[in-house]
């Protein structure tokens, strides 16, 4: 067990009434129905994750931020499973930033995968001390005790956890407690609805925007229309005339644009006044050097980027020699646009900077970084900074950055009052960290149905370069991405492009673009080979079971047997090649994404030149599934989100200004464009992987490959809207 999960001393958080543990010492034998709920205490902390109540129920801490990926439900399920407590007896509570809980973070579909073992251990260690407490009391061996449904049982002795918690809290926790045989799982693998469902459907406060603190004022910001412009001056005379306006001042950029850029803060007694006052401010901005004024200009830059000799990331065999001797060379260029996160809950954060302490609450995927940033801004030590995080109205990678929290801290620090900062939707489009735009040039040499050489040259607006990290190709180009290792001559090159457009991580960063491009091009090769696209990919993958080295996220290897298995299942499920439905054209794509294997078949109709997605079949192998109902939702959501992006989404620029600053101009997919998504899983006992992202990238190529079948048009540049196809 990692150090972070070790607990120090256990303490009562709340004790109500008289401590009742002693009252039951005399009773060792009860039947379920006559057992009194005697111990009158609640939230007795046994370890940092689990607090036991006197009535035998437990409060379980949800360690990570929930952005809609369901970890507030699935991670506590793992704890409850090993604690061996029925789910009905569990209350889940959102943890705050707490060093004892390990890394608290939402990103990269890592929540379940990186916490599974630790949380099993943490749950089992509590079960283990409860068993030992019972054994001590009954003077029997711990080995002769078992647990069932929140009771410890030995022979005719039976007590629920509430009777044993106080004694258990005195015992040392074991670092290697016995774990359940997965065959005995009662919670993992069974569908549990979201722990917040009742609150969500009745409108109870849950999100950052719903929070308030005593004495707070409201704030919003004015942002420049050309990204990363600097504020030169502003006139706030009219704005200050509005009653309820408290203050207006400049927000200073920090050293790194992902931490904060220039803006004007408007502080008011209520949010509506702040929004109105913002519109009355006249600000002058100076555009940054070398800014992108139009997508046409960007296209030119990509061309130059591709022409420049990029860094070679992988070079197997000799592609150039193969191209020279081959009589069958195919080339194609794919392109993806900047797209917005447009997470449903606009950015917001509450900061209360006091003399030597800070209180923060809000929606962030990285509460630890928010803490560090607040410390840098205020000079107040990190241990004096409390960070609470809320349920989050969508993340998709946008809230990995804490620029908005940084603004709230800056404002509160300045006005010496608690402040609730809220961005308008327009702020959100002007302050997003967009999915990087990119360009992918492919060249392949074929001999019959065999691919002899494969060369891909990539140029993107690198997010690592933007934020000053390295390497520039990180999350932009993946040297081991399939079909690397399956073709003898294989080269991947990369050139980064730095622009003023803010870029960041969006649902499967980089992979969402490369998967579209690679799998689209492979479909072109299948056609050249005169083969069925599925047969062609299976031939390329080969019959042998191999662990393919994969140096990026999801590695260190992926397995070709598992990849073939998802392909074969989705093929069977969809009746590919067997069932031909009138008017339906089909496209296919498959790949390992972040450790999860996904294969997808999209059925489309061509209705007078417009594409309608009829149905999507997708099979995923993410190892053990923790919460099936949540898992299915993630896959459906990812697929449908990708249809939205593929159909409509692109950040359009005019004179450097985004043309869309709200949903009237930036179209999102709605009900009538949303097809049925048929999700299947390969049930196996493999280690669990993430699911919040993998279904997203695979949809793009499966869709555009279907569009080709339906229209004869290869969509090598997204979105479909650009081509009049939707």
């Amino acid at each position: 067990m990692s150090n972070s999960l070790k607990t120090s001393r256990r303490t009562f958080l709340k004790v109500s009434g008289t401590a009742g543990g002693g009252l039951i010492l005399g009773f060792n034998l009860y039947s379920c129905s006559t057992m009194p709920d005697n111990p009158i205490f609640s939230n007795l902390e046994i370890n940092a994750f689990i607090l036991i109540n006197g009535d035998g129920t437990a409060t379980i801490k949800a360690k990570n931020p929930d952005i809609g990926q369901g970890v507030k439900t699935s991670l506590p399920m793992i704890l409850a499973e090993e604690l061996d407590l029925p789910w009905e007896k569990v209350t889940v509570e959102q943890a705050e930033l707490d060093g004892r809980l390990g890394s608290q973070f939402a990103g990269g579909s890592t929540g379940v995968k990186t916490n599974y073992d630790n949380l099993r251990n943490a749950g089992a260690s509590v079960r283990d001390v409860l068993v030992r407490a019972a054994a001590n009391r009954w003077e029997v061996n711990a080995e002769d005790c078992k647990t069932e449904d929140g009771f410890v049982i030995s022979g005719r002795n039976k007590l629920h956890y509430g009777h044993l918690a106080e004694e258990a809290a005195q015992l040392e926790l074991s670092e290697a407690p016995p774990l359940k045989d997965p065959q005995d799982f009662k919670i993992i693998g069974k569908s549990k609805s979201d722990v917040d469902i009742k609150k969500i459907v009745t409108g109870q406060p849950l999100y950052g925007l719903d929070q308030e603190v005593e004495g707070m004022v409201y704030a919003t910001v004015l942002k420049p229309e050309v990204f990363n412009s600097t504020l030169t001056s502003f006139d706030d005379v009219e704005a200050r005339k509005l009653s309820g306006v408290i203050d207006i001042f400049k927000i200073d950029a920090m050293d790194n644009p992902v931490n904060r850029v220039d803006g004007v803060a408007v502080i008011a007694e209520n949010l509506w006044t702040a929004f109105k006052a913002k519109k009355l401010i006249k600000a002058s901005w100076k555009e940054p050097k070398g800014y992108i004024t139009s997508l046409k200009q960007l296209k030119g830059d990509f061309k130059k980027g591709l022409a420049a000799k990029g860094e070679v990331l992988r070079n197997d065999g000799d592609v150039a020699a193969e191209f020279q001797k081959s009589g069958n060379v195919i080339e194609a260029t794919y392109e993806v646009p900047f797209i917005s996160h447009s997470q449903m809950e606009p950015m917001n954060f509450i900061a209360d900077v006091r003399e030597n302490e800070v209180f923060l609450v809000g929606p962030t995927q990285t509460p630890g970084s928010a803490n560090a940033l607040a410390s840098r801004i205020t000079g107040i030590p990190r241990e004096n900074i409390q960070v609470k995080f809320t349920r989050i109205g969508g993340g998709f990678g946008r809230r990995l950055g804490n620029d908005y929290a940084s603004e709230a801290v800056f404002i509160s620090h300045k006005i010496k009052k608690p402040v609730k900062l809220v961005w308008s939707r327009e702020n959100d489009f002007l302050g997003d960290l967009y999915r990087p735009a990119g360009c992918y040039h492919f060249k392949a040499a074929m001999n019959g149905t065999e691919v002899k050489a494969f060369d891909v040259n990539i140029c993107t607006t690198s997010r690592y370069l933007y934020r000053g990290g390295s390497p520039a190709h990180g999350t932009e180009a993946f040297p081991d991405q399939q079909p690397a290792g399956m073709i003898p001559n294989f080269r991947v090159s990369y050139s980064p492009l730095l622009t003023n457009i803010p870029v960041g991580a969006l649902r499967t960063p980089g992979v969402n673009a490369t998967t579209y491009a690679y799998q689209g091009f492979i479909d072109e090769l299948a056609e050249k080979a005169g083969m069925d696209p599925i047969d062609f990919q299976l031939q390329m993958i080969g019959d042998e079971d191999r662990d393919m080295p994969y140096s990026d996220h999801g590695g260190p290897t992926y397995n070709t047997k598992r990849l073939r298995a998802v392909i074969n299942l989705v093929k069977a499920k969809s009746g590919w090649g067997q069932v031909n439905r009138e008017g339906i054209s089909r496209g296919f794509a498959a790949q390992m994404v972040f450790g999860t294997y996904v294969a997808c078949i999209v059925d489309v109709r061509n209705i007078s030149g417009k594409i309608k997605v009829d149905k999507v079949y997708i099979t995923a192998d993410c190892g053990r599934v923790i919460n099936p109902i949540g898992a299915e939702a993630q896959v459906q959501g990812g697929v449908t989100d990708a249809i939205s992006a593929a159909f409509y989404e692109s950040l359009e620029l005019q004179n450097g200004k985004p043309q869309a600053q709200n949903f009237d101009q930036y179209q999102k997919l709605r009900m009538k464009d949303s097809p049925e998504v048929d999700v299947s899983f390969i049930a196996n006992g493999e280690a669990p992987q993430g699911l919040g992202e993998p279904s997203y990238p695979i949809l793009f190529p499966a869709l555009t490959n279907a569009v080709y079948k339906a229209t004869g048009k290869r969509v090598r540049e997204l979105p479909l809207k650009k081509h009049g196809l939707v």
């Binding site: 469902i197 969500i200 459907v201 409108g203 109870q204 949010l271 509506w272 449903m344 308008s424």
Partner: protein, 152 residues
């Protein structure tokens, strides 16, 4: 600022706000009823949907001064115990992902079902097309509205 008397979930409420303050912010910031959500502020997304005399409206785009005698119902007042057939169906189908849009989705669907208790699939699609779900829970929204209609 001016005093407005409005009826929210059957109760008379008094607020002192600017005449142009949208109902959304009156509900959220003056009355502390935060179930109604802010998504776009320009009547595009439907996150702020409430009922005005039983009709689904976008509270971000209705100033408090325009409400008058009309009765406002919010997600908090849709049912006493949170057991409106739509709320039950949402639980049964585990519709939400992030959940942020869902109060608006439910309020929109509730107004629709009250007028069309036996909808066809196409009716449901048309009626729910108005609201964006960024997490794209559309399959389950549709299924849940169907279930609710059957149970009403």
């Amino acid at each position: 600022m001016a005093i407005y008397n409005i009826t929210v979930n059957g109760e008379q409420r008094q607020v002192d706000v600017d005449a142009d303050t949208p109902m959304l912010w009156v509900l959220r910031d003056s009355l502390d009823m935060v179930g109604t959500k802010f998504g776009c502020g320009i009547a595009q997304c439907g996150a702020c949907t409430v009922h005005l005399d039983g009709n689904a409206v976008r509270s971000c785009s209705i100033p408090v001064s325009a409400v008058g005698e009309a009765k406002i119902t919010t997600i908090e007042g849709l049912s006493e115990k949170g057991d409106h057939p739509l709320q039950e169906a949402w639980r049964e189908h585990d519709v939400p992902q992030c959940g942020y849009c869902q109060a608006g989705q439910i309020m929109n669907a509730a107004a629709f079902l009250s007028k069309n208790p036996n909808p066809s699939d196409a009716d449901i699609e048309n009626a729910t097309h108005t609201n964006i779900c960024r997490c794209a829970t559309y399959n389950r929204i549709k299924a849940a509205v169907k279930t609710a209609a059957a149970n009403m």
